[in-house]
C-alpha cells in the first residue's frame, strides 16, 4: 500500500456568498512533489491555508500526515511547514536571528547550530548578520525556505514559491525543491507557471473554478491531448534563455 501524506475528499470552502472550493479531491503520496496548478483566484491559496490549519474547511475530510486538520490541528502542525506567497521573514531581525527564533519555537536542542547549518546550506553565511530588510528578493526567498526547513518537517507547503522572483532566483528555488524531495520530504507546491509544474512535479493537479479538472503525471496529462503531430519548427531561443546565457557568461568572466 502506498503511504499518503495528504488526503483531501470533498473539500468545500466559501467566503460569504462566494464559493471558492466546490468539492476538491486529491491525494499526495509521501516523498513526492505535488503541484497544484491554477490561474490567479482559482483557490490555490485557500486550499493551502486549509491544509496548513490556517483556515477551517466548510466541509470535506482533509488529512495531513494521517491527522485530520480540523480535529487534530496540532499534530498536523508538527509535521508541516508553510512558505507563504510573500516571504514571511522578520525584516528587522538578521537572517541568523530569524532562524534561531524559529528553532526556539520548534524547541530544538541547539538553535545556534541549526541556524549555522541552514545559513551555510542556503548560501547566506555572509549575509547572516545583516537585517533581512537589506536582502534581495532571491535571498529573502532563500531565507524564507530555510526557515521552513528548521526542524526538518516531513511535509513542506510552498505557496507560489517563485512568484516575483527573477529567473536566476527561480532556478535556485527549483534546485532547492529538487534537493528536498531527493531527501524524502513531501512537497506540496502551488504555481501559476506551467513550466514550473512541468520541471518539478511528480503529479500535477489543475484547479479551475473551484474544482480539480485534471490530475495525473505529466505523461498522463499529455495523453489527454490529441496525438502530437510532428512538425519542423525552427527553435527560437526565448528571452529567458538569452538572459540566462548572457548572465552566465558574465559570471564566468
Amino acid at each position: 500500500m502506498k503511504n499518503l501524506a495528504i488526503q483531501v475528499k470533498g473539500l468545500q470552502k466559501s467566503y460569504k456568498q462566494h464559493q471558492v472550493l466546490k468539492g476538491v479531491n486529491f491525494e499526495v503520496e509521501q516523498g513526492s512533489i505535488f503541484a497544484l496548478l491554477g490561474s490567479n483566484g482559482a483557490g490555490k491559496t485557500t486550499a493551502v491555508k486549509i491544509l496548513t490549519t490556517l483556515l477551517k474547511p466548510d466541509s470535506g475530510t482533509i488529512k495531513v500526515n494521517g491527522f485530520d486538520v480540523t480535529s487534530n490541528p496540532d499534530h498536523v502542525r508538527q509535521a508541516i511547514s508553510l512558505t507563504g506567497q510573500f516571504a514571511a521573514v522578520d525584516e528587522i531581525l538578521t537572517g541568523r536571528e530569524n532562524l534561531i527564533m524559529i528553532a526556539k519555537l520548534r524547541y530544538l536542542k541547539n538553535p545556534r547550530q541549526v541556524a549555522e547549518d541552514l545559513l551555510k546550506r542556503f548560501g547566506l553565511t555572509e549575509a547572516a548578520d545583516r537585517k533581512a530588510s537589506t536582502y534581495s528578493g532571491g535571498m529573502r526567498r532563500r531565507l524564507d525556505i530555510a526557515l521552513s526547513l528548521v526542524g526538518t518537517p516531513q511535509i513542506v507547503f510552498l505557496d507560489e514559491p517563485t512568484t516575483g522572483l527573477d529567473p536566476e532566483a527561480r532556478l535556485e528555488v527549483w534546485k532547492m525543491v529538487k534537493e528536498l524531495a531527493a531527501g524524502g520530504t513531501t512537497i506540496f507546491l502551488t504555481t501559476q507557471y506551467l513550466e514550473e509544474a512541468e520541471q518539478l512535479a511528480d503529479r500535477i493537479a489543475i484547479l479551475h473554478e473551484g474544482r480539480i479538472i485534471a490530475n495525473g503525471t505529466l505523461a498522463e496529462l499529455k495523453k489527454l491531448f490529441p496525438q502530437a503531430k510532428v512538425e519542423y519548427v525552427e527553435k527560437q531561443p526565448s528571452l529567458e534563455d538569452i538572459f540566462l546565457a548572457i548572465i552566465g557568461k558574465k559570471e564566468a568572466m
Binding site: 507563504g84 506567497q85 514571511a88 522578520d90 525584516e91 519555537l105 537585517k131
Partner: protein
C-alpha cells in the same frame, strides 16, 4: 493519542525577545515614546509653566502624571503598528502553522507593550527628578501608582490590539491613538479644570484621564486619594475587559 505539549511561557519569551529587538532597533519608536514626552515636559515646565496657575508650588509635580499618560498612549500606538505589520507580512501565518501556543503570539505583543512602557515611564520619571520633581510618598503609594499605570497600559494595549488586527493600512493602525494622546490635554493633566468653559469642563472632569491623573497626583503628593482611585480603576478595568473581548474576537476571526 498523546497530546502535544505546548510551551506557552517559552513561546511567550521568544515573542517578547523578538518585539523588544524591534523596539531597540527603531530610533523612531524610541524618539516618540521617550523623547517626545520629555520634550513636552520641558516645554510645559520652562516655557508655559510660569503662566499656569495650578495652586501648587512645584509644577513638575503637577504635570508628571499627565506626561506619563501621554507617553503610554503614544507607546501603545506602536503595539498596533507592530501587530498590523505581523499580520500583513504573513509572519503570523508562519507562526500559526507551527505547533506553538497561538495565544503566545498575541500575548507577546501585549507583554512587549507593558515592558517597553514601564521602561519609558522610568526614564521619564528620572528626567522629572532632575527637573525638580519630588515625592515624599512611601513604598505603598508608589506601588499603587505603578499598578494604575500598568492597568492603564494594559487597557490601552488591548484597544491597540483591536486597531492593529482590524486595520486595513499602516496609517489606520496607528491613527486611532491620536485622540488618546490628545485626551490628557482636555483634562486636569496640565491645568486645573476650573478655568475651562462649562461644556469642556464637564467633559474634562468626567473622562478617564482626569480621575487617573488626580489619583496618581494624590498618591505621589501624599494627599488623601478619595474616590478618584476607584473611578480610575473602574475606567482602566472596564476599558481593558471590553477591549480584550473585542481584540480576542478579531484575533480568532482572522485565524
Amino acid at each position: 493519542m498523546e497530546t502535544i505539549k505546548k510551551h506557552f511561557f517559552s513561546d511567550l519569551g521568544v515573542m517578547l525577545g523578538r518585539s523588544m529587538r524591534h523596539i531597540s532597533r527603531s530610533l523612531d519608536t524610541i524618539i516618540t515614546v521617550c523623547i517626545t514626552p520629555i520634550a513636552m515636559m520641558l516645554l510645559f515646565v520652562y516655557v508655559f509653566g510660569g503662566a499656569i496657575q495650578t495652586g501648587t508650588e512645584n509644577y513638575v509635580n503637577y504635570l508628571l502624571p499627565g506626561i506619563l499618560l501621554i507617553a503610554i498612549a503614544s507607546g501603545i500606538s506602536y503595539t498596533a503598528y507592530r501587530l498590523f505589520l505581523d499580520k500583513q507580512r504573513g509572519i503570523i501565518e508562519r507562526f500559526h502553522s507551527m505547533p506553538i501556543s497561538r495565544s503566545a503570539v498575541l500575548w507577546g505583543h501585549v507583554l512587549t507593550s507593558v515592558v517597553s512602557n514601564v521602561i519609558s515611564v522610568i526614564v521619564i520619571i528620572i528626567v522629572a527628578l532632575i527637573m525638580g520633581f519630588r515625592s515624599s510618598s512611601g513604598v505603598l503609594p508608589w506601588l499603587a501608582v505603578a499598578g494604575i499605570l500598568v492597568l492603564f497600559t494594559l487597557a490601552l494595549t488591548w484597544v491597540a490590539a483591536i486597531a492593529g488586527l482590524t486595520a486595513k493600512s499602516v496609517e489606520g493602525a496607528s491613527a486611532f491613538s491620536y485622540p488618546l494622546i490628545f485626551l490628557p490635554f482636555i483634562s486636569s493633566a496640565f491645568v486645573p479644570t476650573e478655568s475651562m468653559p462649562t461644556v469642556v469642563r464637564v467633559f474634562a472632569e468626567n473622562q478617564p484621564v482626569t480621575s487617573i491623573v488626580e489619583a496618581i497626583r494624590a498618591l505621589l503628593s501624599g494627599q488623601l486619594v478619595g474616590n478618584d482611585i476607584w473611578v480610575a480603576l473602574a475606567w482602566c478595568i472596564g476599558i481593558m475587559v471590553v477591549a480584550y473581548i473585542f481584540a480576542m474576537k478579531a484575533y480568532k476571526k482572522r485565524m
